[in-house]
Amino acid sequence: AGDAFCRDCFRAFYVHKFRAVLGKNRLIFPGEKVLLAWSGGPSSSSMVWQVLEGLSQDSAKRLRFVPGVVYVDEGAACGRSREDRAKTLTDVRQILQTLGFPWPIVTLEEVFALPPSVLRCSAQDPVGTMGTYKVAVDSFLQQQRTLAAEGLRGSPSSAQGEEQPSQPCTQDSQDPVGPPPAAQTEALSQLFNSVKTLTAKEELLQTLRTHLILHVARTHGYSKVMTGDSCTRLAIKLMTCLALGRGAFLAWDTGFSDERHGDVVVVRPMREHTLKEVAFYNRLFAVPSVFTPAVDTKASEKASIHRLMEGFLLRLQAQFPSTVSTVYRTSEKLVKAPRDGCAAGPRCLLCMCSLDVDSADSATAFGAQTQDFSQTPPPTPRAKA
């Protein structure tokens, strides 16, 4: 970024960015249940930490939503042994227990148990407009004042319903009783081994993980999922998705909010923080994280499209420090195609985006010739990518 910060200013800057991204987008309503997707890695750990700190501030600035944290054990996809996975889980549990939110831990093997309903886009609640948001906040504050006046205020979180973030939530932890059945682990292992390229493995892992997390969100009543994607990661993701042929969906893949699933919206509050800022913050303020090897650990630079893009962007960034932010700013300009509701058009089973097909075949010479422009309505505008 080119600016030097002292420790305290850096902290203020970092926290301010997090709150500003949430405040600017106004998508998270007071009292809403938000599931934090925590991988143990630095970005999502930082995100969880910001939420934790944000919840404990004085009431004027306090974050007002109700969080839970989900951790997915992906050891089977990476070929980790049972012992290694158990050891990581011990570290994970230690951290989760201190948070005071509900913390389901799920294993990737549970994808085999997902109902087919995860592949269906559910009816979408209308996204709140500015007016609705303001009304919701006002009524929430009014509710709090009433409770205070009636002397019913116990812990500051009592207005948030049954969730009590200040209490340890071991009963709500939903920890699986034991390690997953070996047959499932084996099946998952085989699935990933049968995928020939690292690129495809990474995409598969991402897809399965997303479905699993969304399922957890739905079954526990969470309407939002927060992921820790940083600015750097999203810039890399944008270029990678282009290379993978996902140009039409960049706005959903890299934007602040991703509503493709209908009832659960994925938001990315860390999108203005670079990986460098995250690493410094975590180091200076001792944010706990758990390092877990992944499918691409120690992969060479040319092992997958993801790795290639990462190497390309980071190397460019080293010489031209505005590279990442330029790519990021471009991603902010992407427009989502107007949604006609979930019924319109078939969707991809894997990524749940509307299929990017042009049924009128207007791009080919044949299609253009046979089109009768006086009769057909103008084509619906596509996402500008």
Partner: protein, 110 residues
């Protein structure tokens, strides 16, 4: 600054703490902290020299994942006594006895 415990083996030698985080430790057999002693030499030790030394003496595997050219691979942060090395001259920073050099890999996701 007072330095507790100094290098005794030879004049001009440096005692440093090298730390690895964020996945970088995987390239060092999982060892997160190395206490090293660099021998005295004609020219003062700078980070550039240290990297060469690390590659030769500490890196257990896949040097290209840690070092590229004469610097660290892009994506690996270097902190000297908890300050960004960019503020201290990067490769040209002159090492001092008892310095703590931290390498954080940001390449590992999360």
């Amino acid at each position: 600054q007072s330095r507790l415990g100094f290098c005794r083996s030879s004049p001009g030698c440096l005692s440093l703490a090298l730390l690895c985080r964020g996945g970088a430790e995987l390239l060092f057999d999982g060892v997160k902290k190395h206490q090293v002693t660099l021998p005295g030499q004609e020219e003062p030790w700078v980070i550039r020299d240290l990297l060469v030394w690390i590659k030769k003496n500490l890196l257990k595997e896949r040097p290209e994942l840690f070092i590229q050219g004469d610097s660290v691979r892009p994506g690996i942060l270097v902190l000297i006594n908890d300050a960004d090395w960019e503020l201290l001259g990067e490769l040209d920073y002159q090492l001092q006895d008892q310095d703590s050099i931290l390498f954080i890999s940001t390449l590992h996701g999360g």
